[in-house]
């Protein structure tokens, strides 16, 4: 009995010493770079591949989260955020910078096609479009829609799916198209009819609608254009339509958080550079919008009716559009 007890005490002592050692060890090691991202799986994979190939494997921790979750953290925590490197919808990066002045200026050349603020540079761009399941359209004898407004016709009742702007930034592409084409008053009516036609098919995730269209649960949906293009190319009964209201584009960008820990911030800066230089060729395959000099996009991936947002995108504008969506219900 005594022996077992002695052994047990010994074990406990050893364990507590080990714990102490682990604690010390993690303090003396250089900090890993923490990356927060709202990007899709494909984009995350592309970024990780570029970092790992460049020899940064094990030197970073990547944490994925939803756009609204990451957005909440950025706005609430500012530079107290755990992350050293952030990839996020550009408008959120801009709003967070305005509020907290939390990002460092990038110290590398990017050769971007457009001009961006010094503290961020885009990693990818999303374009919105309508897509349809051609088989369902044929079976139900529906007219092929040319505009978002077409989807509000009675014949589409229960057969449309859209993302929810409360959770998904893809839905913003839809809101913007409706508001700029029809204005606040008529726009609200259009949106109201659209929401009614959707019924239970208002999705929390931006890729929710295309999943429902793909399996034929609904006939038409609104979401990311390139996903529908890929489906059509793969021979699925899918087609995409550039709505007369316009294809709007949202970019997601990378930014480095200013921190007192300069060594880690420097490492984060190096990683940002690697991602922009090495991950773009892989990223542009899934998100075919040219952002940097020398990038080429195939014809099918070029949206037919590209338009730009009139006002600068901010979190306040997003909140206003969220209110617009709620009021239209």
């Amino acid at each position: 009995m005594k022996k077992i007890f002695k052994n047990l005490i010994l074990c406990l002592m050893l364990a507590s010493m080990l714990i102490g050692l682990v604690g010390c060890a993690s303090n003396s090691k250089p900090q890993k770079v923490v990356i927060y991202t709202n990007a899709d799986k494909e984009a995350v994979q592309a970024m990780q591949n570029s970092l790992n190939t460049a020899g940064y494997e094990g030197k970073y921790v990547l944490q994925s989260m939803g756009t609204s979750e990451l957005g909440g953290k950025l706005m609430a925590e500012g530079d107290k955020i755990e992350a050293n490197l952030v990839t996020m919808s550009s408008y959120f990066v801009e709003s967070a910078q305005q509020k907290h002045k939390m990002f460092a200026e990038l110290n590398f050349e990017t050769k971007a096609l457009e001009k961006y603020p010094a503290y961020y540079t885009p990693i990818l761009a999303n374009t919105g479009a309508i897509f349809i399941n051609t088989q369902v359209i044929k079976d139900k004898g529906l007219a092929i829609p040319k505009s978002i407004k077409d989807l509000t016709k009675d014949e589409y009742k229960g057969l449309v799916s859209i993302p929810n702007i409360m959770n998904s930034s893809t839905a913003w592409l839809l809101m913007q198209a409706i508001i700029s084409e029809y204005g606040e008053v008529e726009g609200k009516m259009v949106l109201n009819k659209l929401i009614q036609n959707c019924g239970p098919h208002i999705e929390t995730s931006g890729s929710g609608p295309i999943k429902k269209v793909r399996v034929g649960e609904v006939a038409a949906g609104f979401g990311l254009r390139h996903q529908a293009v890929a489906d059509k190319v793969a021979g699925k009964p899918m087609d995409y339509i550039d709505p007369i209201e316009g294809n709007y584009t949202l970019t997601e960008s990378i930014a480095v958080v200013k921190k007192a820990d300069t060594a880690t911030t420097q490492l984060a800066m190096e990683m940002a550079k690697i991602i922009i230089e090495k991950a773009r060729p892989e990223l542009i395959k899934d998100y075919p919008v040219a952002l940097y000099q020398g990038e080429v996009v195939t014809d099918v991936n070029k949206a037919g009716n590209l338009k730009n947002f009139e006002k600068p995108l901010t979190v306040e504008l997003l909140e206003a559009h969220q209110e617009f969506f709620k009021a239209a219900k």
Partner: protein
């Protein structure tokens, strides 16, 4: 005697300070936050919740689905416990029931949802088996099912334990006196168990009401309080004050539950003598109950089965050829190894420190002459921890430590676990210590040993098997919890359960299941280890 008082007082002060800092202060901050408004103190946060439809609907939904869960769970748990205790079903089958029912406890609740999706969803294993979707899993149905699986083990353990205290002699007497089945059943089984059944109902209700893991995976558009709270706190527009008010509302059912439990305590029967009497033969009853129990157990296992299949086939359910590549890919990626190490570290330290805390608190409560008030206060700590849902505790920690250096450390996660799971191991320790000979300390003193010496030389060695059990309880619960730590983990301190939640964004089920298996195997190993140690130690104790 003077020395003893000094030592016990030191322990008492440590325990009391611990609970003041890590239980009452965070809860107080939570309360303060909930009444903090744009212009001073007021109840506008609560008012806006009551007027804001979203949250009110979520609360109604939560109450409805939790109450239904509690009802189903209590009935089912009772049937299973009855089958184990009052029938002549083969011993082997009884063992299978007893082991099978507690297996879900070794998995995090967030996994239940994914197992349900992959069993009953469009491409689910059971959907394939039956050739059609049996029912819509997202929302109410999925929640109900997940909650029942989640609460069944706790309810069963509680009722099964009470069956042990029912004197089965009365069943025979009642039969001999010519009572009909119903009369006999009501008088000898139901009546004595009323308190326990009420307790099982309350526990099942509170567990479902406050769980975060299951709605996080199968909640769908059916909103419940736990997910609403998460959204308000960490959503696009975080609102700490509203969140605190929701958290305070989440406390209400738990407080009522505890009051109700105390009231039910009056109905508990106490028999002085237990006689082991052969149960009356009744083949029909045995066959009937055995089939119900085995169906329940098999259904649960069938739902989790998919978890052990999908990560080992190439592309479930289209290409069912065997592969270990998912397992290898997941396991050899550095980020998963890190997260698993984090989980193990958190579980081991929580278990070590937690066991020490519970044991010290129990020792001064049971084996010292400390004043009644002090003893009562420790019991109050234990009651309060039992009442506070993990999510509320986590949120309170977030609010209190958000601007301190403790934010984002393992320390805070470990402390949260220790407080969250305090009650059960504390009661285990109290139970075992109060059964020991009360005169050991006096004997020790007469022989010239100090109080501490007696504790170390006599008391602790005699309760080693309880200590092992306490350690195991803490370890397993720390491995599977998500509700308590979801507000506290960061990228650097991420644990396996929070990683599973993260993988949900990508619907990466293979990796989700590999991680779940990892937790499951770790906990099984822990269980086997503690059972083995327990047996060995009790054998040694018998020999002296």
């Amino acid at each position: 005697m003077r020395k003893e008082r000094l030592e016990t007082q030191l322990i008492y002060i440590t325990v009391a300070i611990f609970f003041i800092v890590f239980l009452f202060a965070p809860l107080f901050i939570l309360l303060m936050n909930s009444v903090k408004t744009g212009h001073g103190i007021g109840f506008s946060n609560y008012v806006s919740i009551i007027y804001g439809q979203d949250i009110l609907i979520a609360i109604k939904n939560s109450i409805y689905v939790s109450a239904l869960t509690a009802l189903i769970t209590t009935i089912l748990a009772f049937i299973l416990a009855y089958a184990v205790n009052c029938t002549n079903i083969y011993k082997a089958i009884k063992e299978i029931i007893k082991i099978g029912i507690v297996l879900p406890m070794l998995l995090p609740t967030i996994t239940y949802g994914f197992a349900i999706i992959y069993s009953f969803g469009k491409q689910g294993l059971l959907t394939q088996l039956f050739g059609r979707e049996l029912f819509q899993i997202y929302g109410f149905n999925g929640l109900l099912m997940g909650y029942v699986i989640y609460t069944l083990p706790s309810a069963f353990l509680l009722i099964d334990n009470s069956f042990g205290y029912i004197d089965k002699k009365f069943i025979i007497v009642s039969t001999l006196m010519g009572d009909g089945f119903f009369r006999s059943f009501t008088n000898t089984i139901l009546r004595p168990l009323v308190g326990t059944l009420g307790g099982a109902f309350v526990i099942a209700f509170i567990l479902s009401f406050t769980d975060f893991g299951i709605p996080a995976s199968v909640g769908g558009t059916y909103s419940v309080v736990a997910t609403q709270l998460y959204q308000v706190m960490l959503g696009a527009i975080p609102n700490f004050n509203s969140g605190s008010a929701i958290a305070m509302i989440m406390l209400i059912p738990a407080i009522f539950g505890v009051l109700f439990l105390n009231y039910l305590g009056k109905f508990n029967f106490h028999y002085d003598k237990f006689t082991n009497i052969e149960i009356i033969k009744n083949r029909m009853r045995d066959v009937y109950l055995a089939s119900i129990s085995m169906t329940t157990i098999l259904s649960i296992m069938l739902i989790f089965l998919v978890m052990f299949i999908t990560p080992f086939v190439k592309n479930f359910p289209y290409d069912m050829s065997f592969t270990t590549s998912f397992f290898k890919d997941t396991f050899f990626s550095s980020s998963i190894v890190d997260v698993y190490e984090n989980s193990l570290f958190v579980a081991v330290v929580s278990a070590l420190l937690g066991t020490a805390l519970c044991y010290s608190a129990a020792i001064i409560n049971v084996r010292t002459q400390m004043s009644k008030h002090m003893k009562l206060s420790i019991d109050v700590f234990s009651m309060v921890t039992n009442t506070v849902p993990g999510m509320v505790l986590g949120l309170a920690y977030l609010l209190l430590f958000n601007n301190s250096d403790l934010k984002g450390t393992f320390f805070i996660i470990i402390i949260c676990n220790i407080v969250h799971f305090f009650t059960t191991p504390y009661l285990m320790a109290k139970n075992s210590l109060s059964k020991m000979n009360p005169s050991w300390e006096i004997t020790g003193e007469l022989m010239g040993d100090t109080w501490i010496h007696t504790i170390i030389r006599v008391i602790i060695p005699n309760s080693i098997s309880t200590l092992v059990e306490m350690f195991g309880y803490y370890f397993i619960n720390s491995m599977v919890t998500i509700s308590a730590v979801i507000f506290l983990v960061t990228a650097r301190t991420s644990v396996v359960t929070s990683k599973i939640k993260e993988l949900q964004h990508f619907a990466n089920f293979n990796e989700i299941f590999v991680l779940s298996i990892l937790i499951f195997l770790t906990n099984i190993a822990m269980k086997i280890f503690s059972t083995f140690l327990h047996k060995k130690l009790s054998l040694m104790n018998q020999r002296g």
